[in-house]
């Protein structure tokens, strides 16, 4: 999977036709074969753009900063990235007419060790769902997989689960990199930063980390697209996907196989009401 040439051609064309102000893609770090996001503003920088199985980051996160807000943006999205883009469009954070989306029918990306990422192995929507132009073939049949991590978690008693998480979150340093790297965390003032939110405030205790991350994961329940930007950003290497995958499974099983961001206008399972919603927990 290498679309470097095609993406460079598209970017050059968009700049030549004056359709965009900035192109958001990937470039090499400069010291290894890993990649970082690139904001290209002139056609002379287009040759910096690359795209291959090392293009791991979800670039829809770069639509909310000052360099792209209210500008005409060209953007590269894989399947998962396009789903979060879809949610940003639905939640009125981005205007579609200001975007030129280059969709990728993704074959999966790899981690530092060259192994295919776990989320790519479980991916249900590999090809972009929103695009102006699609690169690659979108023909992959997928089925919902409950991975070993989640199976282990399900096997644990509630108390054990809590103990496990308390142990894990001892390493959290409350840097909020997870939040900043998440394309769907765009709130003007996050609820965990507010003065009244005493549960999350104060010293960096395991309890405050636990509550903050729990709240965060619930705010992403039914919206998280499993791009794992948060895990890539976490300096403490916390297994943040456990929350999200757990929620994803519960929602998939209970809300008519709902997957976040696949359909335009779909705000997520917890933001709509249907007669088929489970209600057996109500007396």
């Amino acid at each position: 999977m290498d679309y470097t040439k095609q993406i460079q051609e598209i970017a050059t064309r968009l700049f030549a036709e004056d359709k965009i102000d900035v192109f958001v893609g990937y470039r090499l770090t400069g010291f290894d074969d890993n990649q970082v996001p690139a904001l290209i503003r002139e056609s002379k920088d287009v040759p910096l753009l690359v795209f291959n199985q090392k293009s791991v980051f979800n670039l829809s996160n770069y639509l909310k900063n000052d360099h792209t807000r209210n500008k005409r943006v060209g953007l590269v999205v894989k399947g998962c990235d396009s789903r979060s883009l879809n949610l940003l469009l639905t939640e009125s954070q981005v205007k579609r007419e200001k975007l030129y989306v280059v969709g990728i029918a993704c074959e999966g990306v790899v981690d530092d060790a060259g192994q295919k990422m776990q989320n790519c192995l479980e991916c249900m929507v590999p090809a972009a769902v929103v695009y102006d132009e699609l690169l690659g073939e979108a023909n992959m049949e997928r089925r919902f997989i409950i991975n070993a991590d989640i199976q282990d978690m399900a096997a644990k008693e509630l108390v054990q689960r809590r103990e496990y998480f308390e142990e894990v979150f001892e390493n959290c340093i409350r840097c909020n990199a997870c939040r900043h790297s998440c394309p769907l965390c765009y709130c003007a003032k996050c609820c965990i930063d507010q003065e009244t939110a005493t549960l999350y405030n104060g010293a960096n205790t395991t309890s405050s980390a636990f509550h903050a991350l729990m709240t965060w994961s619930l705010h992403l329940a039914g919206r998280c697209v499993d791009c794992r930007n948060c895990e890539k950003a976490c300096p403490s290497h916390l297994p943040l996907h456990l929350f999200h995958k757990w929620n994803e499974r519960v929602i998939y099983e209970n809300f008519q196989e709902h997957l976040a961001g696949v359909h335009e206008g779909d705000r997520g399972a917890f933001y709509k009401y249907s007669m088929q919603d489970p209600d057996d927990f109500i007396m």
């Binding site: 003032k189 009244t196 549960l199 933001y271």
Partner: protein, 657 residues
């Protein structure tokens, strides 16, 4: 520093039997902010309220906690007590230690007491963060919507309109009149239903304050008490009512014959029809399902014979919108289908009919000219068996409630039978005779003597055919024997059931309904015509089975409620509404989507200080907001707060236990 007063109520024995009230007071006194705590037998009584008023002055209290019954019951009472003492009424918190503690934990007094103390502690913590709030005034649209044009809807509409309040009356069939228009005579006075109903129907049509919209249904209701907007679908009638004179040429010539619903399918009507000769409005409609012009494009006779050119096959459904302030729901009832009674041979034997079919037969304007006839051979029956409680009081096959009217109408039917067929004999199988009502018992007694009807107490177990007769086998519990009666005709007193559309209507209006589909009143004793949603009232059988006198009184009660609601030009509204902190709002518009009242719109504010760039934020219409809190729950950045239930208040509550 907050100074909280705590007032714990015994509620007679309701709370005191299961909660140690003095103990709750002692616990409350230990809370730092509580400067005064006391118990009393009935806090809601005048001496109880006086204690609150006195304590506010004596102890310079800044907020009040009343631990008593549900705030739905007496929050208003206690708020008024605060107002009377010169305190802002919204500084009150009610801890519900009755429904939430004593009633549900009757077996464990210790635990109930602990829970009551916790509830008080939470209320105290919340009340510390209470703020002074002030009532909001909203304008009122003085127009009422009445759904259903049976006797309930007619009476409600007339009473409201007589108070010079405009009424929109929506009826789903082509004519108003409802079930009462199908009745022959009415118990207990045997006056003719048509004679007492049709003048009222005419009054509705000619009343300057009533807008009658027949052949239509309610599609959508938005807004809130005093300011509803309703969308009504006017079904295509294919007849221009403005030019139609109701001459009848069209239905006389129409070649299509359809079962006549008004006569319970005993005879036929045409595809273009008025339901019955006394219909209001007396204009025909075309039954689009059966008209061959509309289904196959062939015929067109009615258009040819209509001198006024009133037939319009191209007519479409029309959506009408009206602004209204209150709604009276009077959708009536359905007759229960006796199909589950297979042992009676329902559906197999032609000579088993339902009571409404019998009613149509004996009716002067009925399909048989007022004579009961056997459907199988058209002969006049001599022996008629009436079976009561078919569907009613039968959990196994039907419904567990008593339909209330069957005892009386069956008695009426025995009289009508006796009047029409002098040498007939009636048998009535009954469980009980329930004749509670003015003149009802006397009516039953007299009927039994005058008609010589044989009353058999017991249920029928089987009906089978013997020649052209029906053999009705049942038990006579009074002699303890199985009896068999040879019958020419069997009449089933089928149960009253809720209209099958009621659940859909309830969802559309945002009101609740019970397991049978009847719409629920706000309080079974003290608020029988109100619903839990302000400005929506219930009249007639849509709430529960009832007879005509009761229905009419309930309809008039609804009218009184509507008139009371519209007495002033503005309406006071609770200040418990949402506000948006635009600084925190990210404009995702989830709140707009979840608001059931359409109270949230979007607004644009500068991106930052002095910025020309604009961003979208949510904005609450405070007249429309009902304070349900859905937006608060959905808002991820907690940009929305609900007055009276702010985050500090809720967090105080959580932290206190």
């Amino acid at each position: 520093m907050a100074r909280v007063g705590v007032f714990v109520c015994f509620c007679g024995a309701n709370i005191a039997d299961y909660v140690d009230v003095p103990q709750v007071v002692e616990e409350a006194k230990r809370i730092r902010e509580v400067k005064f705590a006391i118990d009393y037998k009935y806090m809601c009584s005048d001496p109880g309220q006086q204690q609150i008023r006195d304590a506010i002055a004596q102890h310079r209290l800044t907020s009040i906690v009343v631990a008593a019954c549900s705030p739905r019951m007496h929050e208003k009472t206690f708020r008024k007590a605060l107002s009377d003492a010169g305190m802002n009424p919204y500084l009150l918190e009610v801890a519900n230690i009755r429904e939430h503690s004593s009633w549900v934990h009757q077996k464990d007094k210790k635990a109930a007491t602990e829970k009551a103390s916790d509830l008080v502690r939470m209320a105290v913590a919340k009340s510390i963060a209470n703020e002074q709030l002030h009532e909001i005034s909203v304008p009122v649209t003085k127009r009422a919507l009445v759904i259903g044009g049976g006797i309930a809807g007619i009476q409600a509409a007339l009473d409201i309109a007589d108070a010079r309040i405009p009424v929109v009356l929506v009826e789903k069939s082509p004519s108003i009149g409802g079930k009462m228009a199908q009745l022959d005579e009415t118990f207990p006075t045997l006056d003719c239903a048509q004679c007492i109903l049709t003048p009222k129907m005419v009054d509705v049509a000619s009343h300057p304050y009533i807008e009658l919209i027949p052949y239509s249904e309610v599609l959508e209701l938005q807004g809130f008490v005093g300011n509803y907007k309703v969308k009504i679908k006017k079904k295509a009638s294919y007849v221009n009512f403005k030019t139609c004179t109701g001459c009848g040429a069209c239905w006389q010539k129409c070649p299509v014959k359809v079962d006549n619903e008004y006569n319970m399918g005993i005879d036929k009507r045409k595809a273009i029809y008025t339901p019955f000769p006394q219909a209001v409005p007396n204009k025909p409609v075309i039954d689009a399902e059966h008209c061959t012009m509309l289904t196959k494009g062939k015929c067109g006779i009615c258009a040819k014979v209509c001198e006024k050119g009133s037939i319009d096959y191209q007519m479409q459904d029309e959506i009408i919108e009206r602004e209204i302030g209150a709604v009276v729901v009077a959708t009536g009832y359905d007759m229960w289908d006796p199909k589950p009674y297979e042992e009676y041979g329902v559906g197999r034997f032609k000579d088993i009919i339902t009571s409404l079919e019998f009613e149509r037969m004996v009716s002067a304007n009925g399909p048989t000219n007022g004579l009961p006839l056997r459907p199988s051979d058209g002969k006049v029956p001599k022996n008629v068996v009436f079976i009561k409680c078919v569907g009613s009081r039968d959990e196994a096959k039907g419904i567990s409630y008593c339909s209330k009217i069957c005892c009386m109408y069956t008695t009426k039917h025995t009289i009508l039978l006796h009047h029409k067929v002098h040498d007939s004999h009636a048998y009535v199988f009954y469980m009980d005779i329930r004749a509670a009502g003015k003149g009802y018992e006397e009516f039953v007694e007299k009927a039994q003597v005058d008609t010589g009807t044989t009353y058999l107490r017991g249920r029928v177990s089987k009906i089978y055919k013997k020649g052209d007769k029906l053999m009705v086998r049942g038990e006579d519990a009074q002699i303890g024997q199985v009896v068999e009666v040879e019958a020419d005709l069997v009449v089933l007193a089928t149960a009253v059931s809720a209209p099958k559309d009621n659940p859909d209507l309830a969802r559309l209006l945002g009101i609740s309904y019970d397991k049978y589909g009847y719409l629920s009143e706000a309080h079974p004793k003290l608020r029988p015509v109100e619903t839990a949603k302000a400005g929506i009232f219930l009249a007639g059988c849509t709430q529960a089975p009832k007879d005509i006198p009761e229905t009419v009184s309930q309809a008039s009660a609804c009218a009184a409620k509507v008139c009371g609601l519209f007495a002033g030009d503005t309406m006071k509204k609770d200040p418990m509404i949402s506000t948006v902190n635009t600084e925190y709002c990210s404009g995702c518009q989830n709140c707009v989507k979840v608001c059931p009242y359409g109270a949230i719109v979007t607004d644009e504010v500068p991106f930052g200080h002095g910025s020309k760039e604009l961003r979208t934020v949510a904005k609450i219409n405070e007249g429309v907001c009902q304070g349900c809190g859905s937006c608060v729950a959905i808002c991820r950045s907690t940009a929305i707060n609900l007055a009276g239930f702010t985050d500090p208040q809720i967090i105080n509550e959580i932290v206190s236990i």
